[in-house]
Assembly symmetry: C2
Homo-oligomer: 117 residues x 2
């Protein structure tokens, strides 16, 4: 039997923050869920747009010209090359899409290892 | 001020079925919302995987080796080249991601025109 991917079930399977988990693949991209709380670093991705869909909580994406704030059911795409810093006051759950192998910090040296779950 | 895309607001802005509306762009792909009810045609996409995330309702994707059924917060990726037929008994709302210009029926001659909203 073919079964779909349930995002809530996948999110219940881990608790570490800022560590994207791969839950699917699409056209050479990883579909990932991540739990975040606090401030991430300022970074950019030279070669890819960055898609954020909030599933639970509240995410602010600081941009150099001001913040964008997302609640559940809201998404934002940071264009490639644009510096941004994700910030969440409460624990926030996000669906991410990035080309397979994209470092989450914008730099392979400091990036989290993305595991499939 | 930069504002995110609210999927529910976008879905409230139209009522026609099986007519994907473009709500964003990501790495050469259209991010789209669509309302469906009833049976679509069997089709496949030779050049792209097909991503379905159910936001509301219930979607069955018939595959030649059996169906996969998705509720809210569940996604499924139909691999490129795989025949499938979306079916929904009740009105169902979906987030789709496809390369810009992909015909929703798999055939440009019968495809819906995708409008941005």
């Amino acid at each position: 039997m073919t079964i779909p991917i349930n995002l809530e079930e996948k999110l219940a399977a881990f608790s570490d923050l800022w560590s994207p988990k791969i839950v699917g693949a699409f056209n050479g991209h990883d579909l990932m869920v991540v739990k975040v709380k606090g401030e991430f670093n300022w970074h950019s991705h030279a070669d890819t747009d960055d898609f954020f869909l909030v599933l639970k909580g509240r995410l602010t994406i600081d941009l150099r010209d001001g913040p964008v704030t997302l609640g559940p059911g809201e998404f934002y795409v940071v264009p490639r090359g644009v510096e941004h810093r994700p910030v969440a006051e409460e624990e926030t759950h996000i669906l991410l899409i990035e080309p397979a192998g994209t470092p989450n910090t914008g730099d392979a040296a400091t990036a989290a290892v993305k595991q499939a779950i």
